[in-house]
């Protein structure tokens, strides 16, 4: 099971390590000891929020502001758990960790893959989540440690995250085979981009979910 989970989690490696390195490099400019970059990856474990933290830390902003901006930046994650209410299993430490590790990438991967029949879902998910976080912490650490000595040109490596989502989008298409969710999300994204570019992700998700719920309610009403 561990080998299978490791193999299936590898696409995240290519998304997380370059992004983590970028974070580590930037974080080092604040002048803290290198291992704080790793600690951020271990405890905060949220890509966008960690990048935001660099800016906030350098401005010495208050804790309440940081709490609120982190909350809003990550509030899209509130919708991610809905897919796993059942499959994260009973309340125990493992479930708490699975919830802790529910990032864009793990959500995307775990909603797309099929868990092999002979494996318990929550255990399989646990290894994927654990490996993903290891990749992230590894990236943050490498970035921080090599901040002054990096000779390899990593420019453009950030495309790996885009490519990962594109691959998962194709996989979703193969799995779902209904055009409607994609079209709704596409339109919602552009509305969000034009009117709420700062909160594009959250607005687009709320608009999309709102629209499918509305369509569903109208459909059941008209069937009655």
């Amino acid at each position: 099971m561990i080998r299978s989970a490791l193999k299936i989690s590898l696409p995240i490696l290519f998304g997380f390590v370059p992004l983590g390195i970028a974070f580590g490099l930037l974080f080092q400019e604040l002048g803290y000891p290198w291992y704080f970059a790793s600690l951020m990856g271990i405890f905060v474990y949220a890509g966008a929020a960690q990048f935001m933290a660099i800016g906030l830390l350098s401005s010495g902003i208050g804790l309440l502001e940081i709490a609120i901006s982190t909350f809003f930046l990550n509030s899209r994650h509130m919708f991610y758990g809905l897919a796993f209410l059942e499959s994260f299993g009973n309340w125990n430490l493992r479930k708490l960790y699975l919830i802790f590790g529910l990032t864009d990438e793990t959500y995307a991967l775990m909603t797309t893959i099929k868990v092999p029949k002979n494996f318990t879902k929550e255990r399989y998910y646990f290894f994927i989540t654990l490996f993903a976080q290891i990749y992230w912490v590894l990236g943050c650490t490498i970035g921080a440690l090599t901040a002054n000595a990096l000779s390899f040109n990593t420019n453009g490596m950030e495309f790996a995250a885009t490519a990962l989502f594109v691959v998962l989008l194709i996989e979703q298409w193969i799995k779902v085979k209904r055009l409607l969710p994609f079209i709704i999300a596409f339109i919602a994204s552009f509305i969000a981009l034009f009117f709420f570019i700062k909160h594009m992700l959250l607005v687009a998700i709320i608009l999309s979910i709102g629209s499918i719920v509305l369509l569903r309610v109208i459909k059941t009403k008209s069937n009655e």
């Binding site: 290519f14 803290y32 474990y45 991610y80 209410l85 490596m157 885009t162 989008l169 998700i205």
Partner: protein, 105 residues
């Protein structure tokens, strides 16, 4: 407050804040409480989130520049390879290498 303590406090606040966002649905909707509507939402959300994430990642691309051309080529490589071979690693690595080649030359 000295600097390290400030950083530690920020980390703590961010950790708790992030965790709350991820924990909320599990607290609101316990196991076995799934309604047909909730089920429908959780089934339709992944394709929508994936679409949104891809557009989000591409939103910084400057249009009417060379960037949009090589971004398109890299996307084409990833998409084409993935439809052809369905090997996630191969599709991601190839697209990224093509993209890096254009960015760095």
């Amino acid at each position: 407050m000295n600097e390290i303590n400030y950083l530690l406090a920020v980390m703590l606040v961010m950790t708790v804040s992030t965790y709350i966002t991820r924990l909320t649905p599990f607290l609101l909707f316990g196991k076995g409480q799934e309604s047909a509507l909730l089920n429908y939402i959780s089934k339709s959300t992944p394709p929508m989130v994936m679409t949104i994430l891809v557009i989000y990642m591409l939103k910084e691309v400057e249009y009417l520049t060379f960037e949009i051309v090589y971004t398109f080529i890299a996307l084409l490589v990833t998409t084409g390879l993935h439809i052809y071979k369905r090997n996630a690693l191969l599709s991601i690595v190839s697209g990224t290498i093509v993209y890096m080649f254009f960015v760095q030359t």
